[in-house]
Amino acid sequence: MSTSTIERTKEETKASQQVLGSEAVLKCLIEEEVDTIFGYPGGAIMPVYDSLYGYSDQLNHYLSRHEQGAIHAAQGYARSSGKVGVCFATSGPGATNLITGITDAMIDSTPLVCITGQVASHLLGSDAFQETDIIGISMPVTKWNFQVTQADEIPEAIAKAFYIAKSGRPGPVLIDITKDAQQSSFEYTYKPCDRIRSYHPYPELRKEPLEAAAKLINTAKKPYLLFGQGVILSEAEEELQAFIEKTGIPAASTLLGLSAFSTRHPLYVGYTGMHGNYGPNVKTNECDVFIAVGMRFDDRVTGDVSTYAAQAKVIHIELDPAEIDKNIKSEVAINGDAKQALKALLPLVNENTHEDWLEEFHACDRIEMDKAIKKSIDPASSKMTMAEVIHKLSNYTEGKSLVVTDVGQHQMMASRYYKFDHKRSHITSGGLGTMGFCLPAAIGAKIGAQDREVIAIVGDGGFQMTLQELGLIMQYNVGVKILILNNEFLGMVRQWQQLFFDKRYSFTEMQNPDFIKLSESYNVPARRIENRDELEDAFDNWLNTDGASLLEVMVEKEENVFPMVPTGSSVSKIRLE
């Protein structure tokens, strides 16, 4: 047989291939260049897992210990790699256990494709074993969802799922596949999706707002720029830097924008929000032109919206039209991708410097240093503080590690004191504030960026919400470095109880297990330290261990995160102590 005959036969086989629905799922994933899946098997998704058995050379599946672990890992993977995170779960409880992660991915714009098994189509609506209406449940928290009841719907559904998840403002998509659809054969072909007529993810930039924005920027005396995760999602880090450097505008980050711009840059003035830096918060209400790039004015950023940047002309660069004028009314709205918008804006703006204005930020920095930072990073107490540990970790790693945090005081301390100097280096649960996010997300982040040093910074509370994923670390040798900052309290809630609830510490004190023994039982080497003079040596051992390792630092029980903008207050009313 000649080569061309063989080729032709191959093509024909490909064209008329009879494939099981369950196998088609995997073929579609491979077409979408997926090589990593996080998941947990169960009855209704067993056919897919059975097919997966024969695909282990092309698809790396990581078995979590709980579906919530699987989805947070997929989120961490997506955010460190820039690819779509994929996760599998079974019907009923398997699917409902994904919901927290799906919701988190929705509010933090993380591209995910979740595939859930479902009971056979003739049992739908019959309250069958492990049947739940996951389409109904996930509707408000997915960018799109779809139930497949026939095998031949699988390729189109998955193609659409990937296109929707990753295009425009990314988000989670859920595909629910009934067991009978997985088990029936059909003629398999795959066509990627690049167009849906009702869905237009990339608005064309319009000339007028760009010109209007440039005019405002070029005549501004006190311009101020705040960037968010939109910069990271559109990979606009270089364009952002070029724009900031050309215009000389002081720039601050939102929580999710961190690491999009080096904290060492002379025009970087800190991070904003409830526990952000003093300067960027108060200067928000003093600037004349406010440029928001790829961010959505979350209430933790704005505090009281009626006073927020009320004196300024706001330029809002944002991909999602529904975010424009949602919380803060803009003078000029540039509806578009941050990268494209910054590229288009760059030639229209003048080279400039704003030395006096920048100096005002530095003056604020000195106040913050005296009143808040010094006592946090160089405390008088014999016990270490979270701020101090993170400050030293930042110096030790030179701001180059990929830091994944959980939710609470340690998260705010990490965003304040870790000095990011490498892009895509900060992963946290920002919008939803999901405790338990850190450990599984760090696992996914490491798998998605194997050459990076991934550090999971977590509190004693959040660690115990998903610590079962130490099992995943053990089974697949995932080299995550875990730092537990243990204050034996739910620290952020305790801080609020202290400040706003008359120190009535209602159910925030925790009796913890021996984290060292626990970690060692999963073959993760671990060490606990209590004294400051052990810290450097502990870092040495912890970060130079091959594979995963855990360091538990006992910290001050009643440390508070300051500065703080109390809920609903103006950002000008930020408390320094």
Binding site: I135, G136, M139, P140, K143, W144, I164, I196, R197, S198, Y199, H200, P201, Y202, P203, E204, R206, D320, P321, A322, D325, K326, N335
Partner: protein, 185 residues
């Protein structure tokens, strides 16, 4: 800002589950839907939703933008009362005997521009099309006659603009931009 009645008109692909995806946008914000109607449009496989809400202009704009985000929504627009032609339909059921014993009823029904659409099982069914105030007036008039049952449909509305839905859909199919679905149409 003052609340007003707004009529939201939505063009969508004809897909199951979409009604739910649209109504949860209102539920989540605790916005009461005054009336809702789903029907086919003049384009095959394109549905038209007509939703009436009482909101401020700022809020109705936000809602319309959220609706546009739903995949399978082709377009979403809002109108004030003066910008649309709109009607509701109401049905009223009376006992046949009551109708026959009260001769003035025939005139009353005619005066209201209503008509009898069924007479069977000792009952009559009256149909009235109009704006809510008109169907309500007939309701008030029929209550003294032992009104057995009453139902009113959701509002259906068409905008006064000379737009062609077909042209809009065609533009959507050829454009790469989402600014289309944003502009007033």
């Amino acid at each position: 800002m003052e609340e007003k009645l707004y009529t939201i008109s939505i063009l969508t692909e004809d897909k199951p589950g979409l009604l739910n995806k649209i109504t949860i946008i209102f539920n989540r914000r605790k916005i009461n839907i005054r009336s809702l109607n789903v029907s086919s449009s003049e384009i095959s496989e394109v549905s038209r939703y007509t939703i009436v809400v009482s909101l401020t202009k700022v809020d109705v704009e936000k809602i319309v933008k959220q609706i546009r985000k739903v995949v399978d929504v082709l377009g979403s627009f809002y109108y004030e009362e003066s910008e649309i032609y709109y009607r509701e339909i109401a049905l009223y059921k009376l006992g046949l005997q009551v109708y026959e014993e009260n001769k003035e009823l025939e005139q009353l029904i005619r005066n209201h521009g209503a008509k009898i659409v069924a007479t069977e099982n000792d009952q009559i069914v009256i149909e009235k099309t109009g704006i809510k105030q008109e169907t309500h007036e007939l309701y008030e008039a029929l209550v003294p006659y032992d009104l057995l049952e009453f139902v009113r449909s959701g509002r259906v509305a068409l905008s006064k603009s000379k737009r062609r839905t077909e042209a809009f859909i065609q533009e959507l199919e050829t454009s790469n931009s989402n600014s289309l679905s944003i502009k007033e149409f």
